[in-house]
Amino acid sequence: MQSKLSDIELIEQTLTGNQAAYADLVKRHQRFVFTLALRFAKNREDAEEIAQDCFIKAYRSLSAFQRQSKFSTWLYSIVYTTAMTFLRKKRVDTDSIDDENTYIQLENSSSSHDINSAENKSRSYYLNQAITQLMPDDAAIITLFYMGEQSLDEISKTLGIEANTVKVKLFRARQRLKEKLEHNLKHEVKELI
């Protein structure tokens, strides 16, 4: 059962040494942090590592949290920087994976085996599939806007860019998501025929 205390109250309690309060804070935000990490990492193991790292970093610098913005905005900015660092590191370790097509291949190879028929694929499945095929930045901006319920200003703080740039990026990300969704649905219809 999750705590009814606000984020700020839980932070205050954590700062007085109550680790259980921080566990409540983790439980409250873990789903979104994990989802956001998954948008960058593209696989659950790496996403878990990024998300875990974020909560540890947030704990370490909790006393530095200024409370001028929401805790979630501050936490998501940690997720963004941690994920970007992770991606950069991964790019060095492996061959370039920044090509958009690679993401599509990765997604197709990992998900095709567990799908038996078009009947059990809901439209939300296709949407999730399409979002995983987007570039990390696009996927993150869509996730922050729709799932994190962040305003354009809050997203601009999280990503460290101007609100107007966020608006433009969001527009482009939505367009790309729409294209991917349409492409996937068409592809599926062709397969059925």
Partner: protein, 166 residues
């Protein structure tokens, strides 16, 4: 220049101006192309809003808390400094200084008949404090005090504004 889609997304998000909103209202009502596009984007927007969050592994919270415990990450927190310990230490010093002062005061003869003469060794040369307390030194000391005062005042104001926000 904004495309139809861009204008409609701004309209759906509520980020366009009042004038633009009114203009788009009219276009949606009168222009079939606009209306269809609006309905398409609105449906898409609703679909995007229904996207579900992914679930992390069951032991996620436990793993995070274990990692925190393992790293002794609680050290940087201000919570790790027990205020009671600081109070006990400062209390000890205050009591010690007070006792010393009482002892010194009680050992002083107040009768006025005592003839106290202190003889210092000839080789001992005490520094003349007046030499060190020159004008630049005093000004520097004063400047440092002012800066320190402003810094503490700023910290106090910050704490006050934070507690107000809470």
């Amino acid at each position: 220049m904004n495309t139809i889609e861009e204008k409609l997304w701004n309209y759906i998000d509520g980020t366009c101006s009042e004038e633009e909103r009114k203009a788009i209202d009219i276009l949606i009502a009168q222009d079939e192309v606009y209306r269809r596009k609006y309905e398409e984007l609105l449906a898409l927007n609703q679909e995007f809003s229904k996207m579900e969050l992914d679930e992390p592994p069951m032991a996620f919270t436990y793993n995070v808390m274990e990692a925190i415990r393992a790293e002794h990450a609680q050290q940087p927190l201000k919570a790790s400094i027990n205020k009671r310990i600081i109070k006990v230490i400062s209390g000890f010093f205050i009591v010690s200084i007070a006792l010393m002062l009482i002892m010194v005061i009680s050992s002083v003869h107040t009768g006025g008949t005592a003839n106290i003469s202190v003889h210092l060794p000839d080789s001992l040369r005490l520094p003349d404090i007046k030499n060190y307390l020159s004008k630049p030194v005093l000004e520097g000391f004063l400047f440092f005090d002012i800066v320190l005062g402003l810094f503490l005042f700023d910290a106090w104001l910050r704490r006050k504004s934070v507690s107000k926000q809470v």
